[in-house]
């Protein structure tokens, strides 16, 4: 539990510093340094499968997973990064291959992938995301939805060199 708290705090801190860095980056590029890398969240890698294909959307869609990928240190957006996404949804379980898909970040470092509606499993409505391409250190995230009725979820990566 302590780990979780620390992880969430780190994540919040990382997210906050990303925001701060991107805001100040617009005004003062020279001070946009020291964006901390995102740490993997506990349980994030559960039911991970290597090499899910890049898809237009997972299954029939209806739920939006989105986020950003940035570089640790200067917080620069990273384009063309592959992010893998999976979850327990109305169309399949976490370990089913059809529940897995990947997408690439655009020139602003943003990604967005439609997937089926996430359903709570193991007591929390949550999704899984992975950066696992090797150029940067692998990161597994496990964001939680505020409500099981939410139809979107965000996750943000700050990557450090492998």
């Amino acid at each position: 539990m302590t780990n979780v708290m620390l992880n969430r705090r780190n994540l919040l801190a990382a997210g906050g510093s990303v925001l701060a860095a991107s805001a100040s980056g617009l005004l003062l590029p020279a001070s946009a340094q020291g964006v901390a890398p995102t740490q993997s969240m506990s349980g994030g890698a559960n039911n991970y499968q290597k090499g899910a294909p890049v898809v237009q959307r997972i299954g029939k869609g209806g739920f939006v997973m989105s986020g950003t990928v940035r570089r640790a240190g200067d917080g620069a957006p990273l384009a063309g990064q592959r992010i893998q996404i999976w979850a327990h949804t109305v169309e399949g379980r976490e370990e089913d291959a059809r529940s897995h898909g990947a997408t690439l970040t655009d020139k602003n470092g943003a990604f967005r992938l439609e997937m089926p509606q996430i359903i709570p499993i193991f007591g929390q409505p949550h999704g899984h995301l992975a950066y696992d391409s090797g150029e940067f250190k692998t990161v597994f995230l496990r964001p939680i939805m505020r409500s099981a009725k939410d139809t979107s979820l965000e996750a943000h990566f700050v990557l450090q060199p492998a």
Binding site: H88, I119, G123
Partner: protein, 199 residues
């Protein structure tokens, strides 16, 4: 106890246990889950329900049962509770081994998991110690069992309340409250009895 009152008590118990189960069975989430995960989940709900019956039996609150039969039933239900917990863990393990392993190893991201695991071990401990209760001595056994019962009830209630799952929120909270009240009543009774000199 008058027959009318007796049937009222039994009806209330059946409602307290039955309503949460019926509402959980109506959960829209079940449509998107495998039967094995559903079975594992309902084994957990059943285990929570059994925690209400146990103190009621010991308090002698259930009409039509002699103290001897109540105790016998309490022991038997203790065994069923162990089986329900094994089914609960097995169903979840088959559904997602890494998530269940994380829970059992206390490294799960879900805050309710360690409470469930502690409650489970406390139930197993009571079940194992029950075989040695004569050797322990009744006094020591009672202290150990009651202490572990508090751990079981508190951890189970925290576990259940924090879970976002098939159980409907209000019926779950009500069942948890009843479990806490029934257990609290038994403990207060034992305390009161211990304070008084033996008659």
């Amino acid at each position: 106890m008058r027959p009318a009152r007796a049937s009222l008590v039994w009806a209330a118990l059946i409602a307290a246990l039955g309503i949460p189960i019926v509402l959980a069975a109506a959960s829209p989430f079940l449509e998107w889950r495998d039967w094995i995960y559903i079975a594992g989940g309902f084994a957990g709900i059943a285990a929570l329900g059994l925690l209400l019956i146990q103190p009621l039996l010991i308090a002698g609150f259930l009409p039509g049962l002699s103290p001897y039969r109540s105790r016998l039933l309490h022991r038997w239900i203790g065994g069923v509770l162990v089986a329900a917990l094994i089914a609960h863990v097995a169903g979840l393990w088959i559904t997602s081994p890494p998530d269940m392993a994380d829970a059992l190893l206390f490294r799960s991201p879900t805050p309710f998991s360690p409470f469930g695991v502690v409650a489970m071990w406390a139930v197993f401990a009571v079940a194992a110690l029950a075989f040695f209760r004569r050797r322990l001595g009744l006094r020591k056994w009672r202290v150990v069992h009651l202490s572990l019962a508090v751990v079981i009830v508190v951890c189970t209630v925290v576990h259940a309340v924090l879970i976002e799952g098939a159980m409907e929120t209000i019926s779950k909270a009500a069942l948890c409250a009843l479990v806490v009240i029934a257990t609290g009543k038994v403990i207060l009774d034992v305390w009161a009895r211990n304070k008084k000199p033996a008659r």
